[in-house]
């Protein structure tokens, strides 16, 4: 099967080198400027006792009740499989009509809300049920699929469809575009499945019965051996996906996933109605008191939204650039074409980085450096850097398959051939992660940084769904802006149609 969704992009864009250099420099300067704005402070704690407990736990994984863990593993996979399948199909339909603005805005809106927040909202309606878990993944992923699939279609040569004449849009896709773009579509869906496994596990943090449930509890309580057992199991799951996820076995897996779902309690329609008609609107607005509503909005705006906006953006920009630097440093170590057999080690490192939830990385960094924006930035950068490096390593290996004998090896090949070739794709990946980093900065309340997501989380804790909803809308708008900006920058810099 033709590999990866990225390889086709790489050769283009080298002529635009100067522009890319300028763009990189520009973003680095912004990040440095934001480092001064960001709430960074270096404390000197004495973390070694706690860190040695964590270290010891990692090498002595232990779980007392295997069946309990097995069940949550099953739920994790089932949620991910069903949600991705649904999202891919709906996303495909939306991608066919992606030239309609309303579809684009809808897709951008649904993917701009973090899975955890979708989960928290659906929990108000469906309780702790399979429905909540499935929808929390399916909805944002649909938005992502719609966008990426439409970009994959854009990138296809027009030959196949030009012969279709007056065929309907649907049949042009079904008989033309989709078969033609199939390898890229399938490859991207496979990658998304890995992301869904992570999302599914993370949903355990808010109480769904997936792996994250046990991971969070054990980690929080300092049972590091138990936390390590769950973490290792999760790493194993992610690493093994490529061995067991086969297209022809998919129907069987889907059937098993449906059977494996936890029981769904009956949904009470009055909760749905109450949630949408009352819970999410400020009381003043429900009473028709517009002055009161305005007062409420400006109070939340001044006290929470405005300061949080700056912290969120500052952390995001710094983490974005640091992710990039890390990705460029890490990817060659995982590319077989550059380091030969040692790439296995590099691959493992990237697997760990992209699979360990950022929240845990942030906790470890907080033990090291004390609470401030620093642990948050480092955690986000390591996680996203690891992910981008993984994608780059894939495309590096893929591109180098076609390189003949007689080219330099090792460092020389990295510096003079591979890196320049990868760079446009690298920037494109980085811009794609931009909005993701923005969303994930929400999860950093533990380090004492009040990002937008911190306030969303607080609003849910205080059972103030009106405020939560308002803040989510603000966060979503910010996300849509960043998404638009990144689209514009990519187009302007000639980073055309990378598909991730």
């Amino acid at each position: 099967m033709p590999q990866t969704f990225s390889s086709s992009v790489l050769i283009k864009g080298i002529s635009t080198g100067a522009r890319l250099r300028r763009l990189s420099l520009f973003f680095s300067l912004i990040a440095i400027a934001f480092l001064f704005v960001a709430d960074i402070h270096l404390y000197t704690p004495d973390p070694w006792q706690e860190l040695s407990r964590i270290g010891l736990g990692l090498v002595t994984p232990y779980w007392p009740n295997a069946s309990e863990l097995g069940v949550s593993l099953l739920y994790t996979v089932s949620f991910a499989l069903l949600a991705v399948s649904g999202a891919a199909i709906i996303g495909m339909l939306l991608a066919m009509w992606y030239h309609w603005r309303v579809v684009r805005v809808l897709a951008a809106a649904v993917r701009s809300v973090h899975e955890i927040f979708w989960g928290l909202m659906f929990m108000q309606i469906f309780g702790l049920s399979a429905t909540t878990g499935l929808l929390a993944i399916l909805i944002p992923f649909t938005g992502i699929f719609a966008k990426v699939f439409s970009e994959i279609f854009e990138q296809q040569p027009v030959t196949a469809t030009s012969t279709f004449g007056k065929a309907s849009r649907l049949s042009r896709f079904v008989y033309g575009w989709i078969p033609q773009a199939w390898p890229a579509l399938a490859s991207y869906t496979r990658y998304r499945f890995e992301c869904a496994l992570r999302s599914s596990a993370i949903l355990g943090f808010i109480g769904l019965p997936t792996l994250g449930f046990h991971l969070e509890t054990a980690f929080k309580q300092g049972d590091y051996s138990e936390a390590a057992a769950v973490l290792w199991l999760f790493l194993l799951l992610i690493a093994s996906v490529r061995f067991w996820l086969k297209l022809r076995l998919l129907p069987v897996y889907l059937l098993l996933a449906v059977l494996a779902l936890p029981e769904m309690p009956p949904v009470n329609a009055s909760f749905i109605w109450q949630f949408f008609s009352q819970d999410i609107w400020p009381t003043a607005l429900q009473d028709g008191d517009f002055n009161g509503t305005w007062e409420w909005v400006s109070r939340v705006g001044v006290n929470e939204v405005w300061p949080a906006l700056w912290q969120t953006i500052a952390i995001t920009q710094a983490a974005l650039v640091l992710s990039g630097v890390l990705a460029l440093m890490l990817y060659p170590l995982a590319s077989r074409a550059l380091v030969g057999r040692w790439s296995v080690l590099g691959r493992f490192k990237l697997l760990v980085l992209r699979s360990v939830p950022e929240l845990m990385l942030a906790y470890v960094f907080m033990l090291l450096f004390g609470p401030s924006a620093l642990p948050a930035i480092l955690a986000l950068a390591l996680h996203n850097g690891g992910l981008i490096a993984f994608l780059l390593a894939n495309s590096s290996e893929d591109a180098n398959k076609r390189i003949g004998e007689g080219v330099p090896k090792g460092m020389m090949r990295f510096a003079y051939i591979d890196l320049p070739q990868r760079y446009p794709a690298f920037l494109a990946f980085l811009f794609y992660r931009w909005e993701v980093i923005l969303r994930e900065s929400a999860m950093m309340g533990v380090v004492g940084i009040a990002t937008l997501g911190f306030y969303v989380d607080s609003a849910f804790e205080e059972i103030r769904f009106d405020k939560a909803f308002f803040l989510i809308v603000v966060a979503a708008l910010l996300n849509i802006c960043v998404d638009g900006l990144s689209r514009w920058l990519r187009a302007r810099s000639g980073l055309k149609a990378p598909t991730l």
Partner: protein
């Protein structure tokens, strides 16, 4: 042939009646303040005890956080819940007719410890320590009574400042054990922790007192309690609420009580929690 048809019908009937019975299942949830591991196993035993006492099928579902417990209670996914002081008040505000029926013996006079890293050189004292200005501070979970509400109330009352104004940084560790770990390591200078969690971890030798210690104790307040929905008598039979209360108050098995962990349960009422409601209101956590 005919026999197998009868057999199939019998199986269907059993399955069907089982599903009807499960519609009548009485469900509860509980988040203990210490040790959240193996909730299903530990509270499964409590469910067995209640099944035996109440004569209906009782099931336990684990939740992760106070808001999740409140949501489950509001949405009738659970009819009985072991809430913290604040979460109980919030839940009863949302579900009309719901009632606090029992609290832990210890919950009549609960308290919070303010703990400090040794490097702060703060020493334990009777009156509220004044030299907290500019330090870093971590609460537990945002919705916790002992880890957030009461310590924030006393900080405000004694200093006239909000935590954000008083401290150079305010974090939410999410959990009492983690608050201890974070202050012990010096990641935060100070923290607020549930006294019972501290005492238990101290007893287990998990705390290095050369690094972290209690510097102040809040006055006592009511905390955890069992809250039941108002419509249970109509659904599970007359006098059901009284039966549940009795079963909880009569829970003597130490193995069961250790899950909470409480010495015993004593009667409670909504009015016992009026101080918590007022406190929540005064610091703006309840509208």
């Amino acid at each position: 042939m005919r026999r197998s048809i009868f057999k199939a019908i019998a199986i269907c009937a059993t399955v069907f009646s089982a599903s009807i019975a499960s519609a009548e299942t009485f469900t509860f949830t509980a988040i203990p303040d210490a040790d959240e591991s193996r909730l299903n196993e530990r509270f499964g035993k409590v469910a067995d005890y209640l099944t035996e006492q109440l004569g209906v099928d009782v099931k336990y579902i684990p939740v992760k956080s106070y808001p999740a417990a409140i949501t489950a209670f509001r949405n009738d996914q659970v009819q009985l819940a072991w809430f913290g002081g604040l979460s109980g008040v919030q839940a009863r505000e949302l579900v009309e007719g719901s009632e606090a029926i029992a609290q832990g013996y210890e919950d009549q006079f609960f308290k919070t410890y303010i703990i400090a890293n040794a490097a702060t050189n703060l020493i334990p004292r009777e009156e509220f320590p004044v030299a907290l200005e500019g330090k870093t501070f971590t609460f537990g979970s945002k919705g916790s009574t002992s880890g957030r509400l009461m310590p924030e109330f006393y900080i405000r009352e004694n200093t006239g400042k909000s935590p954000e104004e008083l401290f150079s940084r305010v974090g939410f560790s999410g959990d009492h054990s983690r608050t201890i770990a974070l202050v012990e390591s010096g990641a935060y200078d100070l923290g607020a922790v549930n006294y019972s969690v501290w005492d238990i971890e101290l007893g287990l030798g998990k705390i290095d007192q050369s690094k972290v210690n209690v510097i102040w104790t809040t006055p006592t307040y009511p905390d955890y309690q069992w809250t039941i929905r108002g419509d249970v008598n109509a659904r599970y039979g007359e006098g059901f609420k009284a039966k549940v209360t009795e079963a909880l108050l009569n829970m003597k098995d130490e193995d069961l009580l250790a899950s909470f962990p409480r010495k015993s349960f004593v009667p409670a009422s909504n009015s016992d929690y009026a101080p918590i409601y007022e406190t929540g209101k005064s610091i703006g956590l309840i509208d």
